[in-house]
Amino acid sequence: MLPAGRITTVLGPNGAGKSTLLRLLAGSLRPTAGSMSWEGKPLDTRSAQWRARLGVLSHQTHLYLPLTARENLAFHARMRGIETVDLNEALDKVGLSDRAHDRVEGFSRGMRQRLALARTLLHDPEVVLLDEPFTGLDARASRLLEGVLRGLRDGRRSVVLVTHALAEGLALADHLLILVRGRIALDTDAGALDPAGFAEEYHRVVDEAENPAESHR
């Protein structure tokens, strides 16, 4: 379930299948079993219609490094059939309007990540998939991203956020999933969790899922 106007945070240890889940939703991987549905209908994640609704920010920035920030966004807009888009506004939102005509290869990791975020949201997607979006961001850029995510929630977008950052993940989440070894170990409303004791709760859930025999002793 990816309800509109909610942020679903997916947590889990390395190898839990968090990125795989996003890649399945994005259509980069085909499921070997099971099925997906959207709005009550079977979902073809490789259809142009689904991809038009989707915005994906992954580990990699998906940017062309020899192109400028503006050229990257303009190219992406054309690939999505967007005729009228204010690229200056898109760059301004992520604090890169003064670097619009600079090549991306000269950008820091954090600047690339911000530009990738602008590219992800350029077509105003209904469903936004974010894989470790805080990686490489400084405190200011992290706050900017948090603001963007809250704006997506207010704009009734469905957001799936995969992260290792427990505190940030929980703070933003409406819904929380903990994946362990490809299975859901916890599926709950984020409001039901106590932020102060969440780290301890997270480790307990992961340990129980990884060592079920020991947890029953």
Partner: protein
């Protein structure tokens, strides 16, 4: 929801991909410098390795040109998707609803312009080194090479996409590609050889038609299969 679900216009995608690839090449010169260097080196080596008192360069120039076209083209086209793989740019492109056949044709156009520019350089370099006489039909010769280049690029772009995701990568590309290029080389080298020998155009019309048919078939097959290859 006000999300923009426009279907990207097919022709706009073709043009945008071609312009993007050419712009990247113009800025990095990653492929063109290597290809041009290869052509000049081949010209120098052939110049010293062929005893021009025993062999008339005019008679073997056609074969040398086609071999150089394919080898230099492999250097260039083989790296198309290597460049795309940096920072996951191609994966990002595939996450858009852009038609896959339009992406393919955009890349073919950019690769064709790049490789054909190198073919023209080859013709110039060989002309200088071997004092070639391009005969009565230089335009027909260039058309023949253009058809061959298009067929080559259409297949090499398709197979480049196929091999880019494998660990063998660029080394696998010629192994897969060369057998399929045999008909093109046979007809192309024959047609350009006759044109260099000063034979009438009517004598090579059959080969030219076969070359064009090969290019059209390769383009059609590439456009039809590219989506399957890159998605899986």
């Amino acid at each position: 929801m006000k999300s923009r679900h426009a279907e990207p216009a097919w022709m706009r995608v073709v043009v945008a991909v071609a312009v993007k690839d050419l712009r990247i090449e113009f800025r990095t010169r990653a492929r063109s410098f290597t290809m041009a260097g290869f052509v000049v080196l081949v010209g120098v080596l052939f110049n010293y390795s062929i005893d021009q008192t025993l062999v008339r360069p005019q008679e073997i120039a056609s074969g040398l040109t086609w071999i150089t076209l394919i080898l230099s083209g492999l250097i260039g086209v083989g790296r198309t998707f290597t460049i795309e793989a940096r920072d996951g740019a191609f994966e990002g492109l595939l996450l858009t609803p852009a038609p896959r056949d339009a992406i393919y044709l955009g890349k073919v156009i950019a690769n064709f312009l790049l490789v054909y520019a190198i073919v023209l350089l080859t013709v110039g370099v060989f002309g200088i080194f071997f004092h070639l006489d391009y005969g009565n039909h230089p335009l027909a010769l260039l058309l023949c090479l253009a058809a061959g280049t298009l067929g080559f690029v259409a297949l090499a772009t398709l197979f480049g996409a196929l091999t880019a995701s494998t660990s063998l990568g660029e080394s696998l590309l010629p192994i897969l590609l060369f057998p399929l290029l045999v008909p093109m080389v046979v007809y192309g080298a024959s047609a350009s050889g006759r044109l260099l020998a000063g034979r009438p155009i009517t004598e090579v019309m059959g080969q030219m038609r076969m070359l064009t048919a090969f290019a059209v078939l390769a383009l059609g097959a590439g456009a039809a299969l590219f989506g399957q290859i890159v998605e899986d």
